[in-house]
């Protein structure tokens, strides 16, 4: 008999036998499973799945948030450039902290960074210290910066972002937060702590080696500050 024909017959037999074996087993599984007592799923399992699905939902909302944030950032940048003169006479308090101009307005604080002569290329930065259980969930790449989402199984997350300081202005809601400036080895860290009962997130903003950095999370600001101190390229 032709070799190819023998191979075809063998394949056909295998297919038929595999199908028979599979169908027999499936029938046995289904019959015994349908007769079995109902199984109550554990509370731990329900909670784990709830967390998982919350995360799935949050991924979508974070995507949306990111798009909105980028749009808002562009609007803020354009508005800031056009209205800079007006802002200076608009009842705000301005301070220059080394390389960063901080403007406290009624409802928000504006951080404008000076590039300070740094020629920045494409550097990669990351915190060496991360609270236990956090993993990188996603990374958005820009030409010279990044936005990194770190996520924990319990649903907590940290957003770590950086861009060349000359290109960025950061606005922070200051109605429900307190800000502290901590200097460490010549770098000024703006540590923003939400007021008790507030829904706001902790944030740390700083400028280092020509880059502006931010860390944002519902974690406490002390932990975020520890992460900020550990950031290196």
């Amino acid at each position: 008999m032709d070799k190819q024909l023998r191979a075809d017959i063998t394949e056909t037999i295998l297919r038929r036998a595999a199908t028979t074996a599979y169908e027999q087993e499936m029938a046995e599984f289904i019959n015994s499973a349908e007769k079995a007592e109902p199984i109550i799923t554990s509370k731990a399992h329900d909670a784990r799945m709830r967390a998982l699905f919350k995360r799935e939902e949050r991924k979508e909302s974070l995507n949306k948030l990111y798009v909105i944030a980028k749009r808002a950032a562009i609007v803020v940048l354009i508005s800031a450039t056009m209205l800079f003169g007006a802002l200076l006479t608009d009842g705000h308090i301005q301070a220059t902290v080394r390389d960063t101009i901080v403007q406290w307005h009624e409802r928000f604080t504006r951080f404008e960074f000076r590039g300070n002569g740094y020629e920045v290329g494409k550097s990669e930065w990351f915190p060496d210290f991360m609270p236990e259980g956090f993993m990188i969930d996603r990374i958005y790449e820009f030409y010279t910066g990044r936005l990194i989402f770190l996520e924990h199984d319990d649903g907590n997350y940290v957003i770590f972002g950086y861009e060349p300081a000359a290109d960025i202005v950061i606005g922070v809601d200051n109605e429900f937060t307190e800000m502290e400036i901590i200097s460490h080895f010549g770098v000024d860290y703006f540590v923003i702590t939400p007021l008790p009962e507030s829904e706001h997130r902790s944030q740390v903003i700083w400028q280092m080696e020509g880059y502006a950095f931010t860390l944002l999370s519902h974690l406490d600001s002390e932990t975020l500050f520890q992460m900020a101190l550990s950031v290196s390229s």
Partner: protein
Amino acid sequence: MDYQLLYIYMPLLKSEEEKQIFADLYNEVKNTCLNIALKITNNHAMAEDILHDVFIKIIKNKDTIFSVNQEQRKAYAYKSTVNRARDLISSHDEKLKDQLDEDVETADDFDLCYIVEKEEAYQKLITCIKALPLIYRVPFDMRYAQDMKNYEIAKELGITENTVSKRIIKAKLKLRDMMDKGA
């Protein structure tokens, strides 16, 4: 009706019609799927994980699954449960996995033509297939009993197409040995 888990899945579905189809399917197959998974794994936590995976898979493939009738959907859920449970169990067998990563000879000389019209030998082949170690059996079943392509099996099991090919060849070699020696 058990709403405990059902509401968790609902946010992933868009229309009311999809939600209704999903609710009906969930109610019909949940307990059977859990029992099947429990029978294969003998582990309650693992069975719950499998149930979860199956329903995620159904939602991800909802366009295809929701277009067929309820009986076909149920069959899909049961089949997915068996595949997932067996895959999960077999993935724990690290020793076998190491062996599978080795290069394998071809199974070109595997010839079953002598079985034609020999009912006893054919029944023996079925018994041998059922006795295959799960790590061989899962991709073998997907190829021969479920008519899946290698790239589909690779995607389903999270392995490369090359690994799928190797495992199917190993399954055939194992079957040849079993048929020679007796299951």
